[in-house]
């Protein structure tokens, strides 16, 4: 894979995102272009990861999991970061679009995080000898995912749209603390999980692969958030048009 592929594709994806955000008329087709790019990119990633990528020095072929594990966990963190930005924005300026985008990004982030943790568990079996270990990185990731599952559960339990939006925004800002804890857990504590890789520890042939994979899944992440955002907006529309709750009719008791 050429070295410039991740950078060029990242510029293309970000440009399409900007066009999507800036032009209402372009929204009908931009997401389709990004979905197509993401689908083709995933096919390229599968071919590269399974057949073309070099073997890892110690894990050999098992190291090929890196091309799907890392992008999924990164997309999870991107989703939760978009969520907290929208939550803060909603508290400053009560905008239903921000509330819908927060809900959408949280759900998509949970999806990517759950898949990433599942792949990490599968990867742990041949490398650590266990499917799961209660080490700092795995615990903090699990807590982070549970916080956001609780965020969505809270939103589904609350019927008042105003209260749901404000309370969930305030709560998820506190919950976002789990993300930096997860990120730095491998540096703060003695963890089975390796530390973050950098250009000194990863061969360029492998780095190009997982960076391109990240861009491909970023395109799919954007499409997923956009389609989930439309669902949230539709639900908001129906919820806010409901008539006010009325007290149920009480049948008068008849005394003998």
């Amino acid at each position: 894979m050429p070295k410039w592929a991740p950078l060029i594709s990242l510029v293309l994806v970000i440009a399409l995102m900007i066009v999507h955000a800036a032009s209402a008329s372009a929204r009908a087709w931009v997401w389709k272009v990004l979905a197509g790019f993401g689908a083709i990119g995933v096919v390229v990633v599968v071919y590269f990861g399974l057949f073309f990528a070099p073997r890892e020095a110690y894990m050999s072929d098992v190291g090929r999991i890196i091309y799907v594990h890392i992008p999924f966990v990164w997309m999870c963190m991107v989703g939760f970061t978009v969520n907290v930005v929208c939550a803060v924005g909603y508290l400053f300026k009560a905008n239903w679009k921000l509330d819908a985008l927060a809900e959408a990004s949280a759900e998509v982030g949970i999806f990517f995080g759950a898949c990433g943790v599942t792949m990490g568990s599968i990867w742990a079996r041949p490398t650590w000898g266990v499917w799961w270990d209660w080490d700092p990185r795995l615990i903090s990731t699990t807590v982070m995912l549970l916080v956001y599952v609780g965020y969505l559960a809270f939103r589904s339990f609350t019927e008042d749209p105003d209260r749901r939006a404000a309370w969930s925004a305030a709560g998820v800002i506190l919950g976002y603390v789990t993300l930096p804890i997860t990120w730095f857990s491998v540096q703060w504590w003695n963890s089975l999980h390796q530390r973050q890789s950098d250009s000194q520890t990863v061969d360029p042939a492998m780095r190009v692969g997982y960076l391109f994979s990240t861009v491909a899944f970023l395109a799919l992440f954007f499409v997923f958030v956009f389609k989930r955002y439309e669902i949230s907006r539709s639900r908001q529309s129906s919820a806010l048009e409901l008539p006010p709750l009325q007290a149920p009719a009480v049948k008068p008791e008849v005394s003998a």
Partner: protein, 86 residues
């Protein structure tokens, strides 16, 4: 005199104690880590393609499944125009 001989012998014993041949230390017991780390094998992992395939199936299958769930939950009506303003 007896006392002098006793003290001299004691002093000589103490003086030569330092240069006496030291017996070799007893062999240390085998290092045993409480978590059994010494049993961790070294080298390169062989095989493991089943785990690789499983991860790629989770990635691709999960993506397709989530895309289908979004399609199934899509709002009926004109997309992009639904939802309250501001």
């Amino acid at each position: 005199m007896k006392r002098f001989v006793f003290v001299a012998a004691l002093w000589a014993g103490l003086a030569f104690a330092d240069i006496a041949p030291v017996p070799p230390p007893a062999p240390a017991p085998a290092a045993v880590h409480p978590e059994g780390i010494e049993n961790v094998p070294t080298g390169v992992i062989q095989g493991g393609w089943g785990y690789v395939y499983a991860c790629y199936i989770v990635a691709i299958g999960g993506t397709i499944f989530y895309a289908l769930s979004l399609f199934a939950r899509r709002p009926r009506g004109s997309p992009g125009k639904s939802g309250p303003q501001s």
